[in-house]
């Protein structure tokens, strides 16, 4: 071997570099409260999906994404081969995917709040340039955005797929833009609604397992309770209002109403209008925020 190849040469990066590992003051910009809010939102979303955690933390979210993907891909596949087949309507998506959405929210919402409470990380967040309300709104936004990835994204893909299967895709897209708008509205409201409910339950405990169990059981019990009350109460005018107790029924009625598919039940009567359901869902979001605020903003 030639000697020259062993000798460090000027410009050779492996040799002759001096690293200054002394402390350097930071002189760059400080991006303030809005940046902190965004950073917390992004970090919370990543952590809830198991990013930078062991693979086991990623299993449930991945399975749920796969399940919801199949839910829209299979009908599109069938429609690709059978023109007249419309296996899934937009408004049916939430009825069919209800269980997946419930489990998804029950998985991510406790991850947003419970860990910070259990591991007392809250004090470190509150010593940063954010307020307690910022913290809560950031967590709500993170939960709602993540829920949108399992509501809006698959539905938007489903909408796009249906237009592409049309003989004149571009014209079909223009003709059906209204459906896309309705998909966005329903997805945003449903995501905020489910996210707020999940977070509100999670704000009462620092144990993730308890929060997950309570959310799932509460959703199921609420649905059962709404059904029982609708059966038991004789007054026909009151029956549709009991649907608001059940998140599943509320979402179902809301999405059906927005897409103009009001399903009249001979036992219960005509469901509440989309507006009424929408206002009720927004009210639930606000009530959940107020409860969380009360939980996180102590008297001192």
């Amino acid at each position: 071997m030639a000697e020259s190849s062993m000798t460090p040469q000027p410009g050779d990066r492996a040799f002759g570099e001096i690293y200054d590992r002394g402390y350097q003051h930071y002189t760059g910009p400080r991006l303030g409260r809005a940046h902190a809010f965004r950073a917390l939102t992004g970090y919370s979303m990543k952590r809830a999906l198991g990013a930078k955690k062991r693979w086991t933390a990623k299993v449930v979210p991945v399975l749920l994404y796969v399940a919801v993907a199949l839910l829209v891909i299979i009908p599109l596949g069938i429609q690709a081969f059978i023109d007249s087949a419309e296996v899934l309507q937009y408004w049916e998506f939430f009825s069919v995917s209800w269980l997946i959405l419930g489990v998804f929210v029950a998985t991510i919402a406790p991850e947003m709040l419970c860990s910070d409470r259990r591991e007392k990380t809250l004090i470190l967040y509150f010593s940063r340039p954010i307020t307690r309300l910022d913290y809560l709104l950031s967590k709500l936004l993170a939960t709602a955005l993540l829920t949108l990835t399992i509501t809006l994204v698959p539905l938007a893909i489903f909408w796009l797929g249906r237009q592409l299967l049309d003989d004149a895709p571009v014209q079909a897209m223009g003709d059906n833009l209204g459906d896309l708008g309705r998909i966005v509205v329903v997805s945003v409201v449903v995501s905020a609604y489910l996210g707020a409910l999940g977070l509100m339950v999670s704000s009462f405990t620092s144990r993730k397992a308890i929060a997950i169990g309570v959310i799932i059981v509460a959703f199921l019990v609420a649905s059962a309770m709404a059904g029982v009350l609708q059966e038991v109460v004789g007054n026909q005018d009151q029956k549709p209002w009991f649907a608001l107790i059940s998140p599943a029924q509320t979402i179902d009625d809301f999405s059906g109403g927005v897409f103009g598919n009001v399903q009249f039940d001979i036992e219960i009567g005509e469901p509440l209008s989309a507006w009424t359901n929408g206002v009720a869902m927004v009210a639930v979001v606000l009530i959940c925020c107020a409860i969380m605020y009360w939980r996180y903003v102590p008297e001192d």
Binding site: R21, G28, A39, K120, I123, L124, S127
Partner: protein, 336 residues
Amino acid sequence: MAMASPIIEAPSVAQPVADPVISTVDLTKRFGSFTALNQIDLSIPRGAIGLLGPNGAGKTTLIRLLLGLAKPTSGSAEVLGFNAFSQGIQVRERVGYMPEAECLPSNATAADFVGHMAEMSGLPKTVARQRAADVLYQVGLNEERYRLIKGFSTGMKQRVKLAQSIVHDPSLIFLDEPTAGLDPPGRDSMLELVERIHHMMGMTVVLSSHILEDIERVCDYVVIIDSGQLVLAQPIGGKSAEGAQLSIQIDGNAEQFIQRLNALGIHDARLRDRMMGLPEIVIRHPSDKAYDAVRDTAVELDVALVSMTGRTRSLEDLYLQAVGAEALDTDYYGGV
């Protein structure tokens, strides 16, 4: 631990300083009928500040108020020129905080979490990651920074907590009992780090502790709080004549010795205690004349002068003077 009674006159609780980094006026915090802090008036200069007091004295409450994390019952506080209550966001942008309790996420790596905390303090993402790596290196965590925090020892966790408090290069940091739970070598290296942060990184450090030794080693100014009351706020270990004393041990009649000193014009001589069976006489503000008078009195009375020590006022003296001997238990020596 029985200690000698204080012989120094009580100084004023706190003197105003020029360009204070922290100032409070009548700061009071009550939780129901319990008063955690009572009418605290402080004016703290830049430097290494020791916040000393027994557990439950109100140190953590004071820090929480200064960070704008709690509202005072009455009074006001300014930190770095910002109102701590109406401008809490601005204060927290410029201040770091290391809590006493465990507060780290177990399921995150040190690099990831400290980087996230840097972003939370307003640093851009790429800079935050770089600074997290640099600061973790500065506190002694190099390759370990990529490991999950749940596998860390107590000392390593304390270092991560320290790193997250300085990652955004604050002007002022509050360290709440940073040596809690550490063994002697760990405690030593943590105090060394705190000294480095103050001297090499130029940050003003407020070190809250109930251990005299920690404060005395690191700090040049002390604030003593007891039962929610501000007891004392002043520099430590100054060479001023006010704090200087001359301590004498003699083998003879101490009262007679003091009378003779008084006759020679030395009026600040007091009998302090008997150490190892020998009386100790302390002279405040000793001038050259005092040294001559001691020598002449010893010769005149034919008394053996066992020891003669000049010393400045120690933190222990300050604490004794402020709180009283009965309050100084072994806890203040870190259980030693």
